[in-house]
Symmetry: C2
Subunit: 332 residues, 2 copies
């Protein structure tokens, strides 16, 4: 009996906010493996803000997601069948198989991982692309000195949670910005940040000021919009801003930066970056992050949607900050 692979393809491009109607579930029979191929049953699909950019047909750092093809995405899973000399059934792998239940590969871009001490799903989060993103922005752009203050937005998320914990390990004061009391409590109590500001409480600048009495030396930006405006106004001279994401901009009209002259008066450094363009740091970063997770010195939280068909809804929730921690879809 031919096995069926369920897949989610991009059906249409969003006009304004993305909706579940932009995706379509299709069922595709799996072809027999050719020599040199192997097949992976995906256990988890990673949902990440960058995917929103790919849904547009506009100039960006990456080519748009083609219509009617499987949505791009990181996955972890287990090899279930192999005609490849280096991959055997039972191997656990990280890959970019996208929004589907099975992946077929010749090994290109697929990495075997060890889930003895690190849970498989963590390879999509703290010990994966989001973790390396945090590592790069913090260590290569912000480079905090002991005693400095580092602020990170989307602080309870997959990237932000790692930024603040690494900043603490470097001896800095870590201040998060997150949406809602629950997330803020988690950021302080479970992740060990020094403070967290709830941007939904309606008093962002004043609360941030209170949480950063000595100003801000490093800012890791995942959000943009009013959160960026508020933090910019708290930056100390010679501050560094790692510009990683501007999720507030992804749906709809561009959000302006209100006071760009602060970049000059405070002699700030701003560096936009995409972690995939810095492959040189991945081995070192993944080794450190994996060790910290295995030692339980780096904590994280996951929001898990069950079943491929729930991916669109979970993804749209992610864009609105409804997730709490790394957003995953469990596919088994």
């Amino acid at each position: 009996m031919t096995q069926i692979n369920r897949q989610l393809v991009l059906a249409s491009r969003p006009e304004g906010a993305a909706t579940t109607d932009n995706f379509r579930l299709v069922e595709t029979p799996l072809a027999p493996l050719a020599e040199g191929q192997f097949r992976v049953r995906n256990h988890y699909l990673s949902l990440d803000p960058y995917m929103r950019g790919r849904m547009n047909d506009s100039k960006s750092y990456a080519a748009p997601q083609p219509l009617d093809e499987v949505m791009i995405g990181g996955t972890v899973g287990e090899v279930v069948e192999s005609k490849h000399p280096k991959f055997a059934a039972g191997d656990k792998v990280v890959a970019m198989f996208g929004w589907q239940e099975y992946g077929t590969s010749d090994g290109t871009g697929v990495r075997k991982v060890d889930d003895t001490h690190v849970p498989l799903s963590a390879y999509l989060g703290s010990v994966g692309m989001p973790g390396v993103t945090a590592w790069y922005g913090l260590n290569r752009i912000i480079a905090p000195k002991a005693g400095e203050t580092v602020v990170v937005s989307a602080a309870s998320g997959a990237v932000g949670s790692v930024v603040g914990q690494l900043a603490k390990l470097a001896g800095a004061r870590a201040v998060g910005i997150a949406g809602g009391e629950d997330k803020c409590r988690y950021v302080v109590e479970s992740l060990g940040f020094d403070a967290c500001v709830d941007y939904k409480a309606g008093n962002l600048y004043q609360d941030l000021k209170a949480a950063t009495p000595e100003g801000v030396d490093g800012y890791f930006e995942n959000v943009g919009g009013e959160v960026l405006d508020a933090t910019l106004a708290r930056m100390n001279a010679f501050g560094r801003i790692a510009l990683c994401g501007m999720i507030a901009n992804y749906d709809g009209e561009p959000l302006p930066l209100k006071r760009p002259a602060l970049l000059l008066t405070q002699r700030l450094l701003v560096q936009g970056f995409i972690v995939s363009e810095h492959p040189d740091v991945w081995p070192e970063a993944l080794t450190q992050l994996g060790t910290l997770v295995a030692q339980k010195k780096l904590h994280y939280r996951e929001s898990i949607a069950q079943g491929l068909e729930r991916a669109p809804e979970a993804f749209i929730g992610l864009l609105k900050g409804k997730n709490f921690g790394k957003q995953l879809v469990r596919l088994i």
Copy 2:
């Protein structure tokens, strides 16, 4: 007979745009020199955009100019009387004596210069603070590779003119932005830029696009506002922006940056800087700039107002772009 020193002091802080009423001319008798002092007859006073920031009583990178004291400013002149072992009558010096005809000093912050091959006034321009500003931003932030495109705003001014000429010497394509046909013609024909866009012509973005067919790799910003928005939209991936001035912001309300998300999508570097905070580069930069001016490989133009009493009007003209080249006041 006691000699009189004419001085301009800050009489009041601007509300909105600066006006000539913010300054007051005073006449002060010169005291006899004490042992270890010398007196300089200032020949030229430098007018620079940074002075506008000092007129405000707001947080900036420098302390505000105190009211009723001589306005800050760079000067060149000649020692006319000395009780100092290292300075003799006839020595030419660069100093920060401010908006006045005479300066008295114990030598702190005063530098002797040689005007045999470099005109004295150039030590306030291409071979002075504006020149080193251009040198630092171009070499230490933009660091253009041969064949890259470098854009500079206020291109006919004291800083911009040096930026573009140094970019050309580094093998880059130099594109200026300036206000008016005359300035643009000068930038191309006399300074040797590859192109110049007249922002007053009303078609800034389209004209800039035509002048930068391969996009922009480095941008030296002196202006801010719509000029920054337009150039940002032309930046290539991994572009560098040296943020030196935002003269469009100096009078009045902050001007927003319309599309900050471009900093991320194009992975741009932005670095605000103040050249006085980088004293390590001054000797190397001044040597190079002095050599280039003496060899007539670095060209410049001056707007000269005659007489101290004309300084306020000339300064306000500078803020509005009425100067053409380095704005000076001749004091003799």
